[in-house]
């Protein structure tokens, strides 16, 4: 068995972690929203919820845990950091594909039943995840992987530089966003930004998110190289 596959299986050895837990949480969030839509008067456009976010947040946290809690035992078993990261990356891809397919199927059911019979928009998100099934699958895959990889990178930053490092890491991201805002403002280009977001296709945005996800993956790789346990 290839070392990368072994590492991926290591993360999956407890079925609770990536099978029962995330889908259980999502099912709970879904049921809460169904009951809510049954209990409140529904407008002409139905009900929109942010309940889907639970699965993304779950993956973010799981990614961080894989680098803080699971890494030391992985290294105890004679795996190099590179292999550990590669095997974890393999799992990220596989899980994002499978989860994305699950979300796509559930979205199809939601559409076919006109919002589970209560006009609920749980798996449909306007514009970004409202297109054909393959586009929903692709976008879900990219978004799931993005959250996973962001969690992994954050976990590694914490592992290597502790809380101070993590705070600096998040502050740096805020600074980048702030610089972008200042740059756009000083160049008086807000109308161009508005124009971009009103004309960009969901597919193009998915592509941009994929680039961001790849950057997260590379960031994590460069961070794990000198992590010690």
């Amino acid at each position: 068995m290839n070392t990368l596959v072994k590492v991926a299986r290591y993360h999956l050895v407890d079925r609770m972690t990536f099978v029962a837990l995330p889908w259980g949480i999502l099912a709970f969030s879904f049921l809460v929203n169904v009951v809510v839509s049954l209990s409140v008067p529904t407008g002409p456009h139905g009900i929109y919820t942010g309940g889907l976010a639970t699965i993304y947040v779950f993956l973010l946290i799981s990614g961080a845990m894989m680098m803080t809690r699971s890494l030391p035992f992985g290294l105890m078993l004679g795996v190099s950091r590179r292999s550990y990261y590669g095997g974890t990356g393999l799992l990220v891809v596989v899980l994002s594909v499978v989860y994305g397919l699950g979300l796509t199927l559930l979205q199809a059911v939601e559409r076919a039943t006109n919002g589970w019979g209560v006009s609920l928009h749980f798996f449909r998100i306007p514009w970004i995840m409202d297109g054909p099934w393959y586009q929903t699958w692709l976008t879900s895959f990219v978004l799931l992987a993005l959250f996973f990889l962001y969690g992994i990178w954050s976990g590694l930053v914490f592992r290597r530089w502790n809380v101070t490092g993590l705070v600096a890491f998040i502050a740096a991201q805020m600074l980048v966003a702030l610089l972008a805002v200042v740059a756009v403002s000083s160049a008086h280009q807000w109308h161009a930004v508005g124009h971009f977001f009103t004309t960009v296709t969901a597919l193009a945005l998915t592509g941009a998110l994929a680039v961001l996800a790849a950057a997260m993956g590379l960031g994590g790789l460069s961070t794990i190289r000198r992590v010690t346990v």
Binding site: V13, P72, F73, M76
Partner: protein, 295 residues
């Protein structure tokens, strides 16, 4: 033959301290080496560098002939059981199963035997185990892996005397049946003294002793009896320690005694008692401390 471990001028500096200071040593294949020293002497840092978990600030480390850091070919041939090893939130059976995937020579029979010897509850989550039980999980993995290089760093924190004896017995039996290179770091020196073929003593990051265990055992003797006779006998010898109680004295000397000297001691009605490995190492560490102070 390629040494299993070969360190040359290895140093590891942290911001405000030196964990390893110019450490050079070799460990030959198929030996049991005791890596000994006080808390903070650098034992764990050295073992972490050997297993690629930590990087040296300077110097060179070779394991099985190659640099271990990020080298899967070398890393998969060793297992490192640490004191207070951090485990993810898994059940005992999960951790054992995962470990079995990574070691080509893994013995499932041995693993099952050890699990029942240590009465480990397979279904229990590792974080719910007592300290001793958690140590036992590491011991099971370390022995069942049958890795070419097996490193134990204080592997039995919290284990009772019976369980520790079980560990020593199993370690010895395994070593006899499936020879491998073992490095064992511990504070309980007298308990493992008979297991060790070679001892390396670290003190504040430096190697202060690196010798076959038998050579170390030969040195050091406590001479006691009437004070005047003792003084006469030890004159001209290297004295490590002396104490007087009334008319009797007890003096610890460093050099080995030949047959004639032993006969003379008997004639003077002196009793001779060899120092245990632990006492010897305490003296060796103390000697290195004195050096530091006077330097």
């Amino acid at each position: 033959m390629i040494p299993t471990i070969s360190a040359t001028a290895l140093s590891r500096r942290y911001r405000d301290q030196i964990a390893l200071d110019d450490v050079s040593l070799t460990v030959e294949p198929g030996t049991v080496t005791g890596l000994l020293g006080r808390n903070g002497a650098g034992k764990t840092t050295l073992m972490r560098i050997i297993t690629g978990q930590e990087f040296p600030s300077s110097g060179d480390i070779r394991v099985l002939g190659q640099a271990p850091a990020e080298n899967d070919d070398v890393l998969r041939r060793m297992v490192f059981v640490r004191e207070e090893q951090a485990y993810p939130d898994l059940r005992v059976e999960h951790a054992i199963r995962v470990a079995s995937w990574f070691y080509p020579n893994w013995s499932e029979d041995l693993a099952q035997q050890l699990l029942s010897d240590f009465t480990l509850p397979l279904k229990r989550r590792i974080k719910r185990l007592s300290r001793g039980m958690r140590s036992a999980v590491g011991i099971v993995i370390g022995l069942a892996a049958r890795a070419e290089l097996t490193l134990f760093d204080e592997p039995y924190a919290g284990l009772d005397a019976v369980a520790r004896q079980l560990f020593y017995d199993r370690l010895l039996a395994e070593f006899a049946e499936h020879p491998r290179t073992i490095v064992l770091s511990t504070h309980l020196i007298d308990e493992v003294a008979d297991l060790l073929e070679h001892v390396v003593l670290l003190d504040r990051g430096r190697v202060v002793l690196d010798a076959p265990a038998d050579d170390v055992r030969g040195t050091g003797m406590t001479v006691s009896g009437p004070a005047t006779a003792v003084q006469e006998f030890v004159a001209g010898r290297t004295v490590w320690h002396q104490q007087r109680l009334g008319s009797r004295a007890s003096v610890t000397i460093a050099d080995p005694l030949d047959f004639a000297a032993q006969a003379r001691a008997r004639a003077l009605h002196l009793s001779l008692e060899p120092l245990s490995l632990q006492q010897l190492l305490v003296h060796a560490a103390g000697a290195s401390a004195d050096e530091k102070v006077s330097a």
